[in-house]
């Protein structure tokens, strides 16, 4: 982890991409890298990187969000500022891309700049989400997203969870499903992600890297 200049996260709606991308960015910045995160999610207007902007900026991370993020406008636009991140190679750039093939299309317009740069494309999977529960469904989703983004998936991320009801068993269950996907598509699992308390209790897959996450997105009734 953290060794490519551009890190792209795609996945199914609700796979947990944003939570993964935010935690990944915070930890990348902690290693001393000059980090920028781009919210390319023009699909889901409610729970996005924009919600945790303050926390990211406090961590010294440059945050770029669609122009409408967290305001009242339906139609988003991608700020021109994004282009500067492809020019200024001193930044480590994390791209949080919208769900499914539709969301992935937003990244396709930067395809040429990304393809000639040092990048990695992670596909985040939560096997407890509808439409990514079986190897067949996951493979279909990967093919659709690759098509939308115009960029091949390099590695899978096991992000199996049910929010507050997550268990290490879910990660083990997902590990078996992803093993089938890996062998059929020749795409390895890059890392396993989970909330600290859940992931630290998971004994399997010791040979695979881990992203221990902190909860950054809360619901209104969880807030004072």
């Amino acid at each position: 982890m953290f060794n490519k200049r551009i890190t792209i996260f795609t996945g199914h709606f609700g796979s947990g991409k944003t939570e993964v991308a935010v935690n990944y960015a915070l930890q990348a910045a902690e290693t001393g890298k000059k980090t920028a995160i781009v919210d390319l999610d023009i699909v889901n207007p409610f729970f996005r990187t924009a919600d945790v902007r303050n926390r990211l900026e406090a961590g010294g991370i440059k945050v770029i969000t669609p122009v409408y993020a967290n305001t009242n406008v339906d139609v988003p636009s991608l700020p021109a500022e994004i282009n500067s991140l492809f020019e200024d190679k001193s930044y480590s750039v994390i791209l949080d891309v919208g769900g499914d093939d539709l969301g992935a299309r937003a990244v396709s317009r930067y395809r040429d700049q990304i393809a000639c740069d040092d990048y990695i494309h992670y596909f985040v999977v939560n096997t407890r989400r509808p439409m990514t529960r079986t190897p067949d469904e996951i493979i279909r989703m990967i093919l659709e997203i690759q098509d939308g983004a115009g960029l091949k998936v390099d590695m899978l991320v096991n992000n199996a969870n049910m929010l507050g009801e997550s268990t290490p068993e879910l990660l083990a269950e997902a590990s078996e499903i992803l093993a089938v996907v890996s062998s059929r598509l020749s795409i390895p699992v890059g890392f396993i992600s989970g909330m600290e308390e859940v992931l630290s209790a998971y004994e399997g897959d010791r040979g695979i890297e881990r992203l221990y996450m902190k909860k950054n997105i809360t619901l209104p009734w969880e807030q004072m």
Partner: protein, 351 residues
């Protein structure tokens, strides 16, 4: 029960409808409920059903009128401005006694407003957004699990009474994800739909589905029949959750996700020695008047908390009927009331 999976409220609405036997969906995209259409578009072909992104909300609701006339289980969904557009056809379908389910994932208004969560379509849903003396059953879930269960129930109620059922959720409920557990099989009410226009086969008289009655005596008779039906629905289908109300200092009325904020307020208030009760209407129409009457003498006051300028509070006042003061606290524009400000309001009222 099956395995638990993680789903977005909007996805659950579509999945629940499919499980309830809905094979026809007509809609037009609008934030924050577009995932409903998105999910149907992907899944409906697997069920051999019909998914149509109509040219407008008006068209979509008229397509619902058509499919329901043929006796099919059918749904449309939208968000506030889109629901306004559907009102003419809603009134027509109510008059023609067509069973159908309409979902409104409410956003902040008036006008095009914003895309964030609100509950400001309470009047529109419960008092007749369209013209004429009609009612719809209005169900207001507060969690993703309950959303699933109430969508299935809505189809059954619709068929049982030949009525429209509306599911109202604020934008938050549509967008949030929670673990949900589906039943292996749904209990589907088997309605006699011999009234449906499905072709006579040259063996019976024509069935007629209409909302025009030119003769005033006939129209009044039809209206009386509708009113009798609404009375029966009110008698049999009123639903409410009552929590912590025995001996409460104050009883809060709240529905949908706001009720979840109140449940946490109850815990915090308890530490200060204040007992807060909650009456959560699950059906906004029929309104659970009887529960408010039952507890009207218990607290010092009632407080209605809404994401609106104060709409449900009018029904709370009617139900409490002057026995106790009824206060209001609300936020608008997509702002969500916080535990802190609700607690302050409660302290101020009880002072």
């Amino acid at each position: 029960m099956g395995e638990k999976i993680l789903m977005k409220g909007n996805e659950v609405i579509a999945e629940a409808a499919l499980r309830a036997g809905c094979r026809h969906y007509f809609g037009y995209p609008i934030t924050p409920q577009t995932e409903i259409a998105h999910y149907f578009a992907k899944k409906m072909p697997q069920y051999g059903g019909t998914f149509i992104q109509a040219e407008s909300e008006v068209a979509a609701m008229n397509m619902v009128y058509g499919a329901a006339s043929a006796g099919a289980r059918v749904m449309t969904s939208s968000s506030s401005p889109g629901i306004s557009l559907k009102q003419e056809a809603i009134s027509y379908a109510a008059c023609a006694e067509l069973p159908a389910v309409i979902v409104n994932i409410m956003r902040a208004g008036p006008g095009l407003g914003g895309i964030l969560a609100a509950q400001s379509d309470y009047f529109q849903a419960t008092k007749g957004g369209g013209h004429g003396d009609y009612r719809m059953v209005v169900l207001a879930p507060s969690s993703v699990q309950e959303l699933y269960e109430l969508v299935v129930d809505a189809f059954n109620i619709a068929d049982k009474y030949r009525t429209l059922c509306m599911i109202v959720g604020d934008g938050m409920l549509g967008q949030m994800m929670e673990a949900v557990e589906f039943r292996d099989k749904e209990d589907i009410y088997q309605a006699d739909k011999s009234w449906a226009v499905t072709g006579t086969g040259m063996e019976r008289d024509h069935n007629i589905i209409t909302s025009i009655y030119i003769d005033p005596e006939v129209l009044e008779k039809h209206n009386l029949k509708l009113q009798e039906k609404y009375r029966k629905i009110a008698e049999n289908e009123t639903r409410v959750e009552v929590f912590n109300c025995e001996g409460a200092d104050i009883i809060v009325a709240a529905y949908g996700t706001v009720a979840r904020i109140i449940k946490n307020v109850i815990k915090t208030a308890e530490k200060e020695g204040i007992k807060v009760g909650l009456i959560r209407p699950i059906t906004l129409w029929p309104f659970p008047t009887a529960e408010f009457e039952k507890y009207a003498d218990v607290p010092q006051a009632f407080l209605s908390v809404e994401m609106s300028a104060g709409q449900m509070v009018e029904d709370v006042r009617l139900a409490v009927n002057g026995k106790r003061p009824v206060y209001f606290h609300g936020r608008m524009g997509g702002m969500i009331p916080t535990q802190k400000e609700i607690l302050e309001k409660i302290r101020e009222i009880l002072k």
